[in-house]
Symmetry: D2
Subunit: 336 residues, 4 copies
């Protein structure tokens, strides 16, 4: 169940402190140019250390493509890739093996599998997202050739909305200095998706996007178009009236619907917002219990972000790209 997608499928693997993270991107059309340097730059956006409050662990994250691309083009075969885990200090994590960190997956993982890799959170670590970014980065390159672009930005950090970057960094630094962490909201817009993408029943485009976003670690909410605000409005207030445009195309005057109607894209920008909880690992002592139920106080160790949102931007874009491209491919099978 480490696979997402229908025609374009991504299967990922890897534990945080194992030899490597990796994935298999299957179903990419053949003959598509992939710029591996551009891909590496995209993956680098997810790396640690870009902003105040981010983890100082230097992950490097060099992508090693093992198959599926030859002479710069996709072969139609599965694209296998790995990213080595180079800078893991596993001895930082001995205590965690017998304790349950609050708001982490330690307890639930053990309830499910009866065993867990405690080193850096194992597969429950957000480090797994590197494989999503690699695959999504390839999807983005293909989508751009099709005229589809994806942009995301941080619209809220903690309680602060629409603050400039320096102010955001200051806010995060302040929380970090107190050993605390922050959540926030990312908005994402997909531009250029033609009308007609999405599966109208269980595979509504918003359902697929929601699943993709909610599968990102720390995400607690998803909305598209006017989202939760729409619940408070009247039908007459959110009606996206159709118009015929000068170029002969049909569009809507407003976009409360967020580019999706009846689960299918309508050609307008697809807009969504994703809510992240504050990082659960804090740089302060935390009371919890061990496997036997005895009280334990966890001391802060390791290197952790005080706010994941700056690093989450390419992850959000990658997941959006995988969903949109998959639906573009599915669309080809709808008519002869």
């Amino acid at each position: 169940m480490n696979t997402i997608g229908k025609i374009l499928t991504l299967t990922t693997f890897g534990e945080s402190h194992g030899p490597a993270m990796g994935g298999v991107l299957d179903g990419m059309p053949a003959g598509v140019e992939i710029d591996l340097e551009e891909l590496q730059r995209f993956v680098a956006r997810r790396r640690a250390g870009q902003t105040v409050g981010a983890s100082t662990r230097d992950e490097k994250d060099r992508v090693e493509v093992l198959s599926g691309i030859w002479q710069g083009r996709t072969l139609g075969t599965p694209i296998g890739f790995i990213v080595r885990n180079t800078d893991a200090r596993s001895n930082d994590y001995d205590e965690i093996a017998r304790c349950y960190r609050p708001n982490h997956a330690d307890f639930t993982w053990e309830a499910k599998y009866g065993i867990r890799d405690p080193r850096g959170g194992g597969r429950a670590s957000a480090r797994e997202t590197v494989a999503r970014v690699v695959a999504g980065g390839m999807a983005i390159q293909l989508l751009e050739k099709l005229g589809v672009t994806i942009q995301s930005r941080i619209v809220q950090v903690g309680p602060h909305r629409d603050v400039p970057v320096e102010e955001m960094e200051r806010v995060i630094a302040e929380a970090a200095s107190q050993g605390d962490t922050l959540g926030g909201i990312i908005s994402c817009t997909v531009h250029g998706v033609p009308a007609g993408m999405g599966e109208p029943l269980f595979g509504k485009l918003q359902a697929q996007l929601a699943a993709a976003m909610m599968s990102i670690p720390s995400v607690h909410g998803f909305e598209y178009g006017d989202g939760f605000d729409m619940a408070a409005k009247r039908g007459s207030e959110v009606m996206d009236t159709f118009e015929k445009r000068d170029d002969g195309s049909i569009g809507t005057v407003t976009n409360h619907s967020g580019g999706i109607q009846g689960g299918i894209s309508n050609g307008e920008d697809i807009t969504m917002r994703i809510a992240f909880k504050p990082v659960p690992t804090m740089m302060r002592s935390v009371p919890t219990i061990d496997r036997d139920g005895n009280p334990v106080t966890l001391q802060p160790r390791g290197r952790h972000d005080a706010c994941v949102l700056p690093r989450a931007l390419p992850i959000v874009e990658a997941m959006a790209a995988l969903v949109i491209l998959d639906n573009c491919l599915i669309k080809k099978t709808n008519v002869l």
Copy 2:
């Protein structure tokens, strides 16, 4: 792509004014007692006419089980069922065949398939949800035997939060009297799910629940636990501290996480909220365009709800049940 689920799968079919809606529920364990009268009562909760503002179309919705249940017990074989469409007045919908109703699926459906059944919205009609409720009702019966219960309630109608039922009916009636419609928010709680359910990567329990809920017509937002509010809080404010309980079990003192950590249930109540947009079909004249881009004014006709939330409660519960039961079955394969 009219199928949802991994082990427990539901495939549905049916257009609003075709002969019947129906579905196939596959993967139900064998030997489970299903009370068809109780099921019929559950399905009736979705029927029209229960509250002011609801459609007066009398759907009856008698469930006809065609396979998979014998002598009151599941056989392990697929449970095929249909619900006849009895009271369709297709002549109400002639004009719609060449116009695009705002916030409906007319335009996008045509962009996708090049053809659509205009009678009552065809498959884009919310009438398709009857098949979800039939299947979900069976899942609920099995979950109850396992000690899992699901409850949903309306927590917001239009801008009004936590109003009693009579007040809610009055608010909806008022909007209806103005030819307008209302959205709202439903909260849903699943009680009794053991720790360990959910697939930690792309199939996180919240991702599956989000996809299931976002696939319900009119839903624009999903959150679990503290949801979007969590984005504004600090890590220290939302920490669900572990405790050992008197019965020896391990739980959390608070439940900001909504019963899910790392994508896997932790044994606490699973809590979520689902935002619905206001009904797009209003009882007033609406300006739009036809297929050729010419301006058209649609006159109100047919019978439509001014607010879908009262009818949506069993739909939300049905979708929750299908996801939870599927994950209970998947869980059985995680260890030998």
Copy 3:
């Protein structure tokens, strides 16, 4: 697990003596004309009573399409259909409920599910194939528009190869008169499949065809091209040399490969052979044991074919059509 296919999926349901057999054919392209009378004629080919030795049970098998087709064309939505079970005499099957018939699924079904519907074999009855034929019949109609035709014929009945029809009927009648049954071999040829269909690794066209054919009740063997005979030959004997044809196309001079190379169609006829075991239900007394292991002698009852091959022809064609059409749709996603 009652579903087959990737883009074009068929999900079936139904027990032999339940209210109806049925299915959902999802993924059919939109806008395709379906001739329901022609479909009914195709389904009738599977009916009882066509040849000597066939069951005299009159199944009628009227197809009731419930969705997905409107005004004679597919909508792109799932095509739900049922075929009522009309002529079931369930009292014939009382004894079977506690005995295990040799070479039947009674014992294994009980081992798997702990429960079984003994009436007419329940879902293990070959009656389930009617749903395959309905769905496959639609696929055949679409394939024919694409220039693809499928033909099957009986090439062996019992030990007799390539006998004319009257001789075949005589052979079957002779076995039937002795209370015995016969197996045989069906060959199937698909003409007109363009080069390039099939998924080269686990989804090789021959693998998909084999799975589809081996899922037909009583089938014990599958081969394509020269099949098992190829094992005895040298590489130099079975080489399908390429040639450029007068119309500029590329083909092969011989077709030992059966139209598939590397799991992908090469444009030549796809040829395969399917081996059926003799019918397990014989019109003679049969020794077996009951659930407790006590010896029992089953007396012949009910109405059963002495040889299924005449009725199996449209089933084989239906399964071939479903696989081929699915791969034609998948092919559309291989390149931009």
Copy 4:
């Protein structure tokens, strides 16, 4: 579409002369001991050079496990692994890039994808099977703990049946000395599968096994139990009579059914036979055409087996193991 399995899924990747072959085995239960040295020995059985006529290319094939196993036990997470391609001489394959080798996938691959990696056959090379053997080898280790064992042997080489090994090697060497190649038949027996495994409709155990075996390069036929021979027999001749055994269990006196009835295992040995075509690459000059249809004569080059059967044994066992183990896991979801 490079994935096989339902709960236990294997996704593979890799081109013959790319950096590495690899795969992701997902769904292995947690806590299972895996002996990596034993695994390496199993993989070595597939290596070149074991018998006369086998390729002299020294593949080494060291398995590098990247995830999913920690301290010798499975974690329940996906097991990612790679096997480096070390000894590739890509310059041997320049000519093939513009020619179509008979009975190879060159032509069909190009028809499908419009592009192909000609180096060593790219992904169409039988080198891909190394990933199957790695994954299957792990499945075998788990099955053995469950009492299930798998054995395969060569029962026919070219026209020669049941010859001892030295004689077989002589026969292969003789064909090789003439620049020719041989096919053959492998029989495979799975012992110890409990009754009740397999999905009775499209996922019949024989259908899954057939698909798995037919997906192995060069396989042209599959049969189980008495297979094609069953077609020639009467029902009375192949009846597997039930008996109660001394240990109280129920079994069959004979096993014409090959351990499967109604698509579900019955507890007897599962027996099957798999037919391989002769290797298409011969050590002699071969006439063919190039991409433009011009006649070309291909000269022998590279290193190729004259008969793949000795190397195919672990591949057959690996595929059988993946199918059987997957069905053992699915079985757990059939009853509560």
